[in-house]
Amino acid sequence: MRKKLLEIKNLTTSFFIDDDSGTNLSRNEHPEGKIKLKAVDDISFSVYEGEILGIAGESGSGKTVTAYSILRLIPEPPGKIESGEIIFCGKDLLKLSREEIAGYRGSEISMIFQEPSSSLNPLLKAGLQVSEVIRTHFNLSKDESYKKALELLRETGIPEPEKRMNEYPYSLSGGMQQRILIAIALACNPKLLIADEPTTSLDATIQMQILQLLKNIKSKRTNASIILISHNLAMLSEICDKIIIMYAGKICEIADKKTMFTAPKHPYTVGLLNSLPMIDGRIKERLNAIGGAVPDMLNLPQGCRFCTRCPDKFEKCESSEPELIGISEEHFVSCYLYEK
């Protein structure tokens, strides 16, 4: 029986932004003339030990905000984690003090961000940035942390690591920079690694290298879990065990990789897969695009958030939001088509 490493229950994270539009939407009004945008609305899911979980979604889906919420990196103001629980190894991270949660960052849970070039300090040598993390969390001498940093660079597949340690970020390619960031993230043997669009800004062949690296890391550190966030559903299918699909702040579907691609249930998932130019190794003749666009988060439809674009909608969908229900042990959907 696998252990749950992270359990998120009913998480809601909102942002209070200026009402520039001119109309005051009385639904979500807040004093001081700001309106509330629920970037993540009452979501729940779990991550097991040793699992690679993928969170897929388009812009505005709330996937990045979810990741930031876990480590409480949401700037307050304008954001606020309004409610919910994030249970990590038995402790609710949302109830910890600022100092306590800071202690988790980088050591128990670490994160890699989307733009490797802006995640590294351009003024410090690459090796120094890795060893700095090591020295902060463990009390090692300069030499010892240097050696450990070198090891990490080797683990992340950087060729000629001794040379790279002394180079500045600007002289490293995107792929190399991302490896350095992964090394920094792994420095303290985290139990959970969160990667937010780690390959989006990289070329296709480099992307493949980084995915391979993540696979290798996983096989070496068997109890560690990875949360991988991307808009590229196909990319997630390469290495994830389980995938969550998010749309406009809510979870549409949770399923393991095979089910997600062979028997998806939620119309959005089906639509996404239909939009991909390639499936089953073949190039399609014509794409079945999902019509319409992601809804305005300040003006969400009354019922299911996807109903304005859903080809299978019926009356109930427009008036109330469906709950996330389990249709098998590891498969969850929030859609009235599957309500018992």
Binding site: T205, S237, L273, N274, S275, M278, G281
Partner: protein, 333 residues
């Protein structure tokens, strides 16, 4: 029935000098595009695919005569023949007025829908601008034309007076396409038109381009790093690496029988949704993409190539025809 060529690119080379000190020292330059030759047939969609530094954006600018504007110090060699109404012409021969007419013939759609529109201009005005440059028609007629274009690209007519910041990425890209089509061009060059968009919107824009092509008999040069998208939309594909074409041919053949090791690696790098029982043998290339400033000698791909041998460092492979209509540049084939 083979349609005739509309653009013939012959041995195009574009290099950008790297400045050292106040004066151009001349010895260091970036050869962004080297010896590039491609025939584009009327009414077809040609795909140009490659990763960063391959020079595809430079080809876009060269074909649409935008290099002098964006990089006046660039050196361009080679020849591009354009065909219109049965006559051939080349850019250096054209006079000032004719160069302006050239803008009606070929239009470009760029990648970033956010910086492709002037934030202070309503989208109606933005679409009107090309029309105003060439025709003196009154306001109502212009508005009528813009409304038609909005409809054609799937936008609501009431968006005429909106500003770009009020539109989504997909809508903006539609505006950009509408603007490009406002002068009825014969050729549309699309430089990564869907890369900055969400997946579900990408599909919409791809369908839109295909529909517009049929409707207006457009010739499209579609440039992208996403091989799956390029395969889907193009009839012919050229694969580029560090300024050179490494493989070229009909898209089904490139997809099913890639010959050049780079093409094979690119295909292998396309993330695949789970397929039951398929042995996923991925070609993972070693090393990084070399900088265009410091290209490897001989075959530029040899530093990452799994077929490379010692002779690859000495000989520059030529693009040879391997089977009918298929070309590859590799001495190991």
């Amino acid at each position: 029935m083979k349609s005739e060529n509309i653009i013939e690119i012959k041995n195009l080379s574009v290099s950008f000098p790297l400045r050292k000190g106040i004066f151009f020292s001349g010895d260091r330059e970036v050869k962004a595009v080297e010896d590039f030759s491609l025939n584009i047939r009327r009414g077809e969609t040609i795909g140009l695919v490659g990763e960063s530094g391959c020079g595809k954006s430079t080809v876009v600018k060269a074909v649409s005569n935008l290099i002098k504007f964006s990089a006046p110090e660039a050196k361009i060699k080679g020849q591009i023949n354009y065909f219109r109404d049965g006559c051939a012409f080349q850019l250096p021969e054209l006079k000032e007025r004719e160069l302006k007419e050239f803008r009606k013939y070929i239009q470009v759609v760029f990648q970033d829908p956010y910086s492709s529109l002037n934030p202070r201009m309503t989208i109606g005005r933005a679409i009107e601008e090309p029309i105003s440059n060439f025709e003196k028609i009154n306001k109502e007629e212009k508005r009528e034309r813009v409304n038609n274009l909005l409809e054609k690209t799937g936008l609501r007519k009431d968006l005429y007076g909106r500003y770009p910041h009020e539109l989504s990425g997909g809508q903006r890209q539609r505006v950009v396409i509408a603007r490009a089509l406002s002068v009825n061009p014969e050729v549309l060059v699309a430089d990564e038109p869907v890369s900055a968009l969400d997946v579900s919107i990408q599909a919409q824009i791809i369908n839109l381009l295909q529909d517009l092509q049929k409707e207006m008999n457009l010739t499209i040069l579609f440039v992208s790093h996403d091989l799956a998208v390029v395969e889907h939309i193009s009839s012919e594909i050229a694969v580029m690496y560090l300024g050179k074409i490494v493989e070229m041919g009909r898209s089904e053949e490139i997809f099913n029988k890639p010959e050049h090791p780079y093409t094979q690696a690119l295909l292998s790098a396309i993330p695949r949704p789970f397929i039951e029982g398929q042995a996923k043998e991925r070609i993972v290339l070693t090393g990084e993409i070399p900088s265009p400033v410091d290209k490897p000698s001989g075959c530029v791909f040899r530093t990452r190539c799994f077929l490379a041998g010692s002779e690859c460092a000495e000989i520059v492979p030529e693009l040879r025809e391997t089977t009918a209509g298929k070309y590859a540049a590799c001495i190991k084939l």
